[in-house]
Structure formats: C-alpha cells, structure tokens
Symmetry: C2
Subunit: 427 residues, 2 copies
C-alpha cells in the first residue's frame, strides 16, 4: 500500500470510502470468528512484527529523518522513534491481548416473559472502530490487536509524521490474519496523510460505528466537534488528591508523592493537590520538601504560599492545566465540600482521590465527585486496565456515555437482544 497523493477530491474521497466499506464488510466476518482463531491471528501478528522488524525500522528511519528536517522537538522524535526493543514490546503487547478473555457472545442477562418469550441480552462487537491518533507508531498494533480480539474491524488513521512506520507495521500485522478466517481489510489503514481524510472518516457513519481519538486536546476537540459518528473521548487527565482534615498524614504524603512523581507524564498522575485548612500547616512543609527534592515545581494559592513561602502563585489557568510534567499546584480548602466543587469545576472527570479516616467525608467525596474513578486512601495512578484487572485498554474514557474509565475489551463491545419465541404475537 503506497501513500496516496491527493490529486482530485472526488477520487480521493472515493478511495477512502472504499477502505471504510471494506472494513464494514470485514466486520461482519470478524464478529463471527472463534476465540481460538482470533488468538492464532494475534499470535501471527506478533510474529510478523518481529520478523519484519528490520523493514519496519528502515521505514521508521525515513519518518525520523523527515521529522529532523522539519525541526520537530526531541520529545516528539522520541515518541516517533522505534527500536528493536520497542518492536519487541509491541509484539509482547499483542500477545498479552491474546491472553485476555474473549468478551464476545457472553450472555449478560437472560429472562423469560409471562408469554413464554425468552430474551437474551448478548455481548456483541461494535462493528467498525475508527482510531484517529498522533505520533506513537505502537498505537497501530495496540489498537488493531484490541479490535480484533473484541471481534471488531478497525480503521486506523495515524499522524502524518509516522506514516511510513505505520504503513510498515500495518503491512506486517495485516498480512498473516487471513489464514485464520479474518479478512485483512478488518485492519484498515488510511494511507493518506492529508487532513481531509479525517473529515471523510468523521462523516462516514454509514461505515464507522465508533471513533476513538487518541492524542492531544486539539485533536480530540476537533474530532468531537466534527464527527457525526459517535465518539468516545479519552481526554486529558487533570487529577486531584484531596487531603482531608481526618487524613492519615503519613499515608497522604506517600500517596501525594506517588501520584505526582512515580510517572508524571501520564494522564492518571495528579496535577492539583487540595489540603484541608486545619491540617495544611502540619502537612504541607514535609510533603513539599519531598516533592522539591524530586524536582517537582510547586505552585500554590495564597494560603499555601504563606505556609511554604517562595513558591510561585497558581493562576486560574494552572488549576485547569494537565502539566504531564513535574509541576504540582496546591490549594488549601475549607472543607470536603469545597474540594468536591473545585474538582467538579477544574478536573477532567478522570481520577480523583481523597485521603481520610472519616467515613462521612469519604462517602461525600466518593458520591459527589463526578469522575470516572474516585479513590479513597489510594493513589490515582491505579487508573489503568491492567491495574484494575481488566487487561489492556484502548484508552481511559473521560466521557460518560458508553464507557467510563479504562476502556478495555468489554467496552469495545455493545449488546443485542435475541428474542426466542414459538409463534408469539402481540395482543
């Protein structure tokens, strides 16, 4: 598959719709493939990645060279870069998916009506999942594996800066699946770097059942605004830790440190620390020292700055910010109610935690913080498919519709009602 040049708009659109149409047709087939064959196909995908690693690295080198010429940042180039080790990790990730439980066909509920009708609510694949993503090439194989295992076809549309890497990965993983009854079109790839290709996908509700954007805030907002296809948003993580008046302050300090420092560049790390006014004086100096020793830049509200001294003021913009970095904003609050209101205003409905020994405060927090995952006395860093025991996830949903929190294999499915009768008609 070569990179298409966008010559005339009609032909361009037609080519993309053809890929989508093929994926739709393929989705009807994948939905019925046995667990055994899906796992064999995943195994073949992993092997093909390793077998073609030299070719993939070669194609990746092209992307890297273009990126360097374009003057992309080192961080961007690092995200783009593949190595033998990274390709091995990608293969490992596919194998891990093959080890997960097949969600398809599970009877979620079954009951009998007084007229004898038997109703079964059965888990089935969604159909065609469109993935629109940015630079990391591993997303190509990760998402393809999750979609195949959950009986879906996928259509992948990676960033233009990774096009050669993505095409090479795609060619490798899609080549060996036909042997196991899965059409190669079930892993569709848009081989067009033009941005207009995304617009075609976003309006193709005839072919695509769900779009998952993976990337920065700009991409996600663009997709949500322009898509007629349903979107599950995996939005930023502005996560909070609230240290209550009745907290075990030693544990609170350990959790605050872990949630900020253990891996600051991920969405479930905290960005804002809220502290009850009655314990701020006792709690903040110690935790601040530990954080500063780990190179965390602290910013604070007025009260925090009085206690800590010498730290930068946090602006309103700070509270909304996903730093993804060693920066933490701290605010002293009057009570658990203020913490809840603050989190519901500035947070991103991702993961928020309270540390307290008081049941009333805990219940109030857990019930009223409107986030996907709410924690009592634990680090927000556990919001993760594997940490939850759900397996690999396609993202952490910050929306409320269809999927919330880690979106794993079950959430890549929907359900249908199968109604069994023996001639029933409605009176």
């Amino acid at each position: 598959m070569r990179v298409l040049e966008k010559k005339d708009s009609m032909r361009f659109k037609k080519k993309i719709l053809k890929i989508l149409n093929n994926a739709k047709d393929a989705s009807r087939v994948v939905a019925g493939v046995s667990t055994k064959n899906k796992n064999k196909a995943l195994s073949a995908m992993a092997k093909a990645l390793l077998k073609n690693s030299r070719y993939i690295l070669l194609q990746n080198a092209k992307d890297i060279s273009i990126a360097k010429k374009k003057g992309l940042s080192n961080a961007m180039i690092d995200r783009l870069m593949l190595t033998n080790k990274r390709i091995e990790e990608m293969a490992q990730a596919i194998k891990a998916v093959s080890g997960l439980k097949d969600p398809v066909g599970e009877v979620l509920r079954k009951w009998k009506r007084p007229n004898g009708l038997v109703i079964k609510k059965v888990r089935v694949p969604i159909g065609v999942v469109g993935i629109v993503y940015e630079s990391r090439p591993n997303v190509t194989s990760d998402c393809a594996a999750l979609c195949i295992k959950s009986g879906n076809a996928c259509v992948l549309r990676g960033g233009s800066e990774a096009i050669n890497s993505n095409l090479a990965i795609h060619r490798s993983i899609a080549s060996g699946i036909e042997k196991f009854g899965i059409p190669r079109e079930a892993i569709g790839m848009i081989n067009v770097t033009d941005r207009e290709a995304v617009e075609v996908m976003l309006e193709a509700d005839e072919y695509i059942d769900l779009i998952i954007p993976r990337g920065g805030e700009g991409l996600i907002r663009h997709v949500a605004k322009n898509s007629t296809v349903p979107v599950v948003k995996h939005y930023k993580g502005v996560c909070h830790l609230y240290v209550d008046k009745f907290a075990d302050l030693k544990k609170a300090g350990e959790i605050a440190f872990n949630a900020k420092v253990q891996r600051p560049g991920v969405c479930n790390a905290i960005e804002n620390l809220l502290v009850h006014k009655d314990v701020a004086q006792k709690f903040l100096p110690g935790v601040a020292r530990a954080l500063e020793e780990a190179d965390v830049e602290l910013r604070g509200c007025e009260k925090t700055r009085k206690i800590l001294g010498g730290i930068k003021a946090a602006t309103d913009k700070d509270w909304y910010e996903e730093y993804l970095d060693l920066v933490l904003a701290i605010k002293v609050v009057a009570n658990v109610e203020e913490a809840i209101t603050f989190i519901n205003k500035y947070g991103s409905s991702h993961s928020d935690a309270i540390v307290t020994k008081n049941k009333k405060a805990a219940d109030k927090f857990l019930n009223n913080v409107d986030s996907s995952c709410v924690y009592l006395n634990a680090s927000t860093r556990f919001t993760d498919g594997y940490q939850f025991g759900l397996g690999a996830e396609i993202g952490i949903s910050t929306g409320k519709i269809h999927a919330r929190g880690p979106m794993a294999l079950e959430e890549l499915c929907t359900y249908k009602y199968i109604v069994l009768g023996n001639g029933q008609i409605r009176q």
Copy 2:
C-alpha cells in the same frame, strides 16, 4: 415562565445557558436524592397534572388554534391535541415510572485486587439529559419522569407548535418537586421557540451530558450532525420479517399479519416481508389475502408480483422506507444469507425476525442480522420497554453506542469506579 422573544443574540444565548447551567447544578442534587423522595416527587408531578388539567387544556387550545390557522394536517393536530383522558394517561405514565426499580447506586461488580484495593463498579446517573422533541406534549411529562427517577436532571425542548401546552405541563410538574429535595431546575425547559435554541443546546457539552432527539428523521439527522454533545439516536424502524424455507407457515402468516397490522404507525411494525423462494408460492397468496382484507397495500419484487398479480412494484426507495402505515413491501429471496444481507443493507438496525424450524438458519440469522433486537418465531412488535419487562422507555435506540433497543431507566445511567484503599501506591 413566559415565551422568550429572541431580541438580541447574545442575551438570547445567555438566557439559554443559564437554564442549562441551573440544570447542571440541579443534577448534582438529584443524583443523591433517595428512592423514596424521588417516588414522592413523581407522585406529586402526577397529581399536579390532574389538578392543573383545566389550565393545561386552555393552553393547549391556544396551540391547536394556531395550528389550525397555520393549516397543519389533521394528523399533526391530533398529535398536538390534549384531552382530559390524555392528561389522565400522562399522569398514569408518571405513576408507572414511580413503580419501577431505582437503577441508581446498584453495584454492578465488585472485586478485590492482589494489592488489597477493592474496586466497585457502581451505576450512577448520567447528569443532564437534553431532550429535543416534536409535537406530542406528553413527551414533556414522560421524559421528565424517567429522568427524575434515574437521578438525572433534564432540559426539555419541545416543538414550537406545542409551546403553550409544554409550558403549562412543565409549570405543573416542576412546581411540586422541591418539597422532596429536588430543585425545580432539575426539570429544565427551554421557553424559546426559536430554532437557534437547539443549536445552543447541541454545543453545550459543558452542561449537557447526553442529547436524545425524539421525532422525525430530519430532526434526528440534524441533531446528530450538529451536536458536540453525545447523542443516542432513536431512529426510524424499518423492520423485517423473513419467512424461511423451514418455517411453520401458519405461524409465519399470523406473525406477518400481527407485525404489520396490529399497530402500523409504530416503529416496531414491519415494513418489509422477505420470503424464501421455495415457500413463496405456498405462503404468499394466503397472507396477501388476509393483509389486503385489512386494507394493507402490498408492493412487491418481480417474483412476488408474478405470484400475487396486480400489486404495485416495489422500488429501491420502498425497501428503505418507514411507511408507518398500512403498506408492506414483499421480496422473494434465495436463502437466509440473502435475507441477512438485505436486512443489513435496507433495515434501520431496529427489530427483525425470522420464522423457521431450522436451527442452523435461525442461528445464522440471529447472529448476523446487525440489529438491536432479533427475533425467532415471534412478532417484532414486542420491542418495547414494558414488553421486555424493563418498564417505560425513553425511546428505542437504533445506535450501537451506550444503549441499544429499548432505552429504559438503566440506560439513562452510566457507571463510575469507586476504589477503596488503605494507603496503596503504585510500584
């Protein structure tokens, strides 16, 4: 609440956003109201409808008079018209909702991780549900009742032709709920007839968590195309009955008749009848006679017309059409595979049935027809919240994301993860 005149655009938008913002604030309160108080509030809503019936009828008369002046069709005027009996039915419907099980707070799953974290997946309300609907004023009270019972706030935006009726119903039902701890803003109503009000709602993802359009195809397409808020579509019902080669033809005839004639104006009535070629000659004449005696107009494919004679030809447009009327299109197909392909192409993913005694054909059909509800040997007319035993529904979802088929109280909820720890940090 008076009908707002749209004078200047900024002020107009601000007024609407104020209603939405109030609903968001109210949603945080409703989410925590006890089942007992929600049921009391529903009871008060039902009583208020009856108590204010004279006022509601008076306001309805205004709408009817305007509609007549505008020359609306008799069918439209009938949909708009309220009577004492209809108001009593609306009150009954609210009472029925109060009798349904409260879906909020149910622990869907609970498990313990090796590190001691206890994870609970708990059903919680969605938040604010926006309902955009057309002429029937009973939608106002039906949707408000379902949203309150499921712990949600709602924002209602009915059709301009029913504005006086809707405002009167709204004033009645929203007035008595505060006594039970539910802010009256939890039942929000857009008191602006201008179409621009809908556009403001569709972009208000800060305040509205889900939009449900209820009405014709045009409305639903418009909402799906322009909304940045997630939409659950309750789209048209182009439902099929397929009579297999191995069908009990007596049952098949009864089911065909029931699915078309018992109530032709609803979405779960069939529009297309598919018949296996080997039984067409035997099956069609009898069923056609019965249908024609019930004033059903038949349209057919070439083979059907050869068997039946004298009926109109069905065009490609016919197969896509939701007649909502005593019209049925008939096609002879070669096998179950052709039936499946046909339904997946022309159907609307609503409800489709097969009549057969053959297990293989049945399984193929039930697994491969990509619809919300698939039936074996029963009428499609059972796709209905009460018929399924789920209670009143807010609509029949023809989408695949979040809710499929009858969307009842449970589907008006989402879930959150509550994670209980004792100091766990991530290694």
